[in-house]
């Protein structure tokens, strides 16, 4: 099994380790609930070194990305700006979701999911054949995400003055290189913070400094409850190759203009848009006790659907889920939990924003 450069640190912190797509990763360091609450109220850090960094360089890098992904990198006008997008197949199914950072001129950095690494690289390599560019998956990198209302202040304490000044004024969804550090103001928790990519040789020092600055290590368990409260999609659960962005609440990531831009999957997606989709992704709040989980059946007068991700929300103190349901479904449904139908309310996610409940009731 693969280990990240922080593996020994996790063991030293008594992490419970699990197999995450072939990576031996910390699920929690004692209590997932505590860790969740620390990120909502203070600052926590995640080892996300298993994620897949890909550097794209060359004159045609931009033209290639305009073909490869459904969002338009032409929106990235200033150095360091980031873009969230889906990479589609010809049938408009989602191969993966990713963030593209515009470094400068003809240089883009892409961060993809760990679980889909192999197929992503194969697909991107195949599609790039007729473009003049280089693809590099840099070896020996590590990545830490620091998230929470106090995350940035605490990170600033461990940076040198020059770096600190540079990132302190950086806007959300931007990134910059500061020496060997690549610092992005992005994340997967619904809180402010940074994601830092750096050479593996320096990651233990940074991890230790952050701990000393009062940033708690957080496992992948809390990462999932945090992202679900923030209604951020999880690849493989909320969408996959059989689902288009229009069926999983990711319409906003599709750039239809300019119409001449012929991204992969556009034709199929356009057809689906014109014909109308059958399913939508909604938020569910369980009315009673119990916990919603992926794959549970959703029942309503408008037809059946299914829970794509479900969990107990520590912030709301009740169970929440994302579910794919018929478009016509109203604001009530039932979910089958261990053979019993239980009432749930349909809401517009996200469930939590900056530590507070924020879901919208449907009429």
């Amino acid at each position: 099994m693969n280990k990240t450069p922080l593996y020994d640190q996790h063991l030293a912190m008594n992490a419970k380790m699990v197999d995450f797509s072939g990576w031996n990763m910390p699920i929690h360091y004692g209590s997932q609930l505590n860790e969740h609450n620390i990120v909502r109220s203070d600052a926590g850090m995640f080892d996300v070194s298993h994620m897949n960094v890909l550097d794209l360089r060359g004159e045609q890098a931009k033209a290639f990305l305009q073909k490869l992904v459904a969002n338009d990198v032409d929106q990235l006008k200033s150095d360091g700006k980031a873009l969230y997008t889906c990479m589609l197949n010809e049938q408009a199914g989602v191969i993966d979701d990713l963030i593209i950072y515009f470094i400068h001129n003809s240089y883009y950095r892409i961060v993809l999911n760990a679980a889909t690494r192999k197929k992503d690289l194969a697909w991107i390599t195949q599609q790039s054949e007729h473009f003049n560019l280089t693809l590099e998956s840099p070896e020996g990198l590590a990545m830490i995400a620091i998230q929470g209302p106090n995350a940035r202040t605490k990170v600033h304490q461990v940076l040198d003055d020059e770096t600190c000044t540079k990132v302190a004024e950086m806007k959300p969804f931007n990134a910059c290189f500061c020496g060997e550090l690549f610092i992005a103001r992005t994340g997967y928790t619904g809180e402010d913070g940074y994601e830092i990519v750096l050479p593996a040789s320096g990651v233990e020092v940074l991890w230790t400094k952050l701990r000393q600055a009062g940033v708690a290590p957080i496992g992948l368990g809390a990462r999932d409850t945090l992202r679900l409260e923030a209604a951020m999609s999880l690849y493989g659960a909320d969408m996959d190759e059989s689902i288009s962005p229009l069926e999983c609440n990711l319409n906003w990531t599709v750039a239809w203009q300019p119409v001449e831009r012929d991204f992969i999957g556009r034709t199929a997606l356009q057809k689906q848009r014109e014909a109308g989709v059958e399913y939508k992704l909604v938020g569910l709040l369980l009315e009673g006790r119990g916990v919603l989980r992926g794959h549970q059946r959703v029942v309503s007068d408008a037809g059946d659907g299914k829970v794509t991700s479900g969990t107990f929300s520590p912030t709301l103190g009740r169970s929440i889920a994302l579910a794919r349901v018929p478009v016509a479904m109203g604001n009530r449904c039932q979910v089958e939990i261990r053979g019993k139908l239980q009432d749930a309310r349909v809401v517009k996610p996200p469930f939590v924003h900056h530590g507070k409940a924020c879901y919208e009731e449907l009429n």
Partner: protein, 131 residues
């Protein structure tokens, strides 16, 4: 390495059983099991007076991570349930062998209980798991 008290009996499915002075037995889940499951957020207890077969699923605990069935370690009748867990399921995490008990049974036969795994056997089983 998880704590496995010597005076208790254990099952393959990670329940522990304590024989009380009055011949009844108390059932809970092991420290190893609670650590695997993580923070508990919900419990569904068995009904008092229900007759259970050995291995029958009779309760459900849900952690943040997953739902898990609890199986009756021996045949018997449910004589008490730990209702305090309904409001504080996390007690199973903090005190698996004490306040985190789940239900009490009047067993059909105490010799069934003595045939369950000893602490030593159970430790060997979970050591394999933990490696």
């Amino acid at each position: 390495m998880s704590n496995t008290p010597n005076e208790l009996f254990y099952t393959q499915s990670h329940e522990w059983v304590r024989i009380e002075d009055d011949g009844s037995v108390t059932v809970g889940i092991s420290e190893h099991a609670q650590a695997l499951l993580g923070d508990m957020v919900f419990i569904e207890l068995p009904e008092i007076d229900s007759e259970l077969d050995v291995g029958q699923d009779c309760a459900v605990i849900e952690s943040v991570k997953a739902a898990s069935d609890i199986y009756s370690p021996v045949a018997g009748t449910v004589i008490a349930i730990n209702e305090a867990l309904e409001d504080a399921p996390e007690t199973i995490n903090s005190d698996a062998y004490g306040e985190g008990w789940i239900f009490k049974l009047q067993p059909a036969s105490l010799s069934d209980v003595r045939e369950l795994m000893s602490a030593e056997e159970y430790s060997a089983l979970i050591t394999e798991d933990e490696d």
